[in-house]
Symmetry: C2
Subunit: 236 residues, 2 copies
């Protein structure tokens, strides 16, 4: 296990401290989140936690959770109690980019349904502004993708269809991903709303104002970022 792997494992372990018996937990996708799934399975097997069920955010996580013997359910109308998931970038105010793994849409459906969202990763994912190191992934319909790419370009992004082995990368939903490189200091909220309104877009990887905390593994242990309180009645 290399250094980054140790950091991720530590972050996953710290996040699991938020899981209580009886909870319905959203299970994220990707290398860091996979540590959570395996660890949660071990704790259930050891009897340290009881009656925890999961909602898987991808086909890969579903497989992993079955191996770890975590009971899975479909996402209920009431959502989940807690979601633990990785991210590609996170800011000090807990805005995040997710979706380099390609599961962004299901991850977003589950995260948005979640009473609490805990993001995990390593300290290299912490950025001052979104778009610093990662593009914004956008899941798009294969139908009309050329036009959708053009619309994303008109919004100021530099979009590129994600390929795998020379062919379009296909999501669990059977659709495609366009990675949008953005200008530094772009207006993430305005971009998010504009992208949501583009016909042909299924979901984008901007997770704004959704997370409660981020746990980042690093050389000095776990760094915890907490969502700043909404300032009520503060002078403008």
């Amino acid at each position: 296990m290399d250094e980054a792997d140790r950091w991720k494992t530590a972050a996953a372990r710290a996040a699991l401290e938020h899981v209580r018996s009886g909870m319905l937990v959203g299970l994220g996708t990707g290398s860091t989140a996979s540590h959570v799934v395996r660890d949660l399975g071990r704790r259930l097997a050891a009897g340290e936690l009881r009656d925890v069920r999961g909602v898987a955010t991808s086909v890969a996580t579903e497989r992993l959770a079955r191996e770890a013997k975590i009971p899975l359910v479909e996402l209920p109308a009431s959502g989940v109690d807690l979601t633990i998931d990785g991210m590609d970038e996170v800011t000090p105010t807990l805005d995040a980019i997710k979706g380099l793994g390609g599961a962004l849409t299901r991850e977003k459906v589950v995260a948005a349904s979640s009473a609490r969202l805990v993001l995990i990763g390593d300290v290299r994912k912490r950025v001052p502004w979104l778009g610093e190191t990662a593009p914004v992934p956008v899941e798009v319909l294969a139908f009309g993708w050329r036009r959708t790419v053009e619309r994303l370009r008109e919004l100021g992004a530099e979009p590129a269809l994600r390929l795998r082995g020379g062919e379009p990368f296909v999501t669990d939903t059977g659709q495609w991903v366009v990675d949008c490189h953005v200008h530094p200091h772009f207006d993430a909220a305005a971009f998010a709303a504009a992208v949501d309104a583009v016909p042909g877009v299924i979901a984008h990887g901007l997770f704004l104002g959704m997370a409660e905390r981020a746990l980042l593994g690093g050389p000095d242990g776990i760094e915890e970022l907490l969502r700043p309180p909404v300032i009520d009645g503060a002078p403008a």
Copy 2:
């Protein structure tokens, strides 16, 4: 052919007057739009029009267009010149509801790419306010659909998963449709933006500010609704 069929056929014929040789045309889906496809094929075969190509908004329309020998292309980045499509409701200001046929997402991608959008139908589709007679169809991911339905309910709609033979109706995209009954005089623009932002929503059937004109067949011939001019510099 019953009366309503004659009205639809007349509307389709009137819409075809807007097609010029050399155009790339978005071909709509549904009973009225199918008249356009067949008529366009006849005019091409008769040499009345030349070098017209189509973009099909559904698998069904693709099949119909091939039968009518209309050359089809994928939607290019530059969009199409003209789209002719049916609708379920249209207001005097040309806001529309589409999607009872289930092809709303592809229809929207093509319509939004279109330099000009002409809606066709019969006079029974003309309503003072959207939602008067038709629900707003929303295409949703099958994944997490219970939660998505709950979110739509929270936005004030009365959502119902569309069924066919007791099973969820499946779109060309492989996803599901939720029909949202709305309150009369609901704020269509606000609802549209809110629905666009719900993770799990692929597209909704509100086509606001998109159409250039609507051609409605009826007992007195064709009624033409034109988009009102944007009033520039008018007093508030």
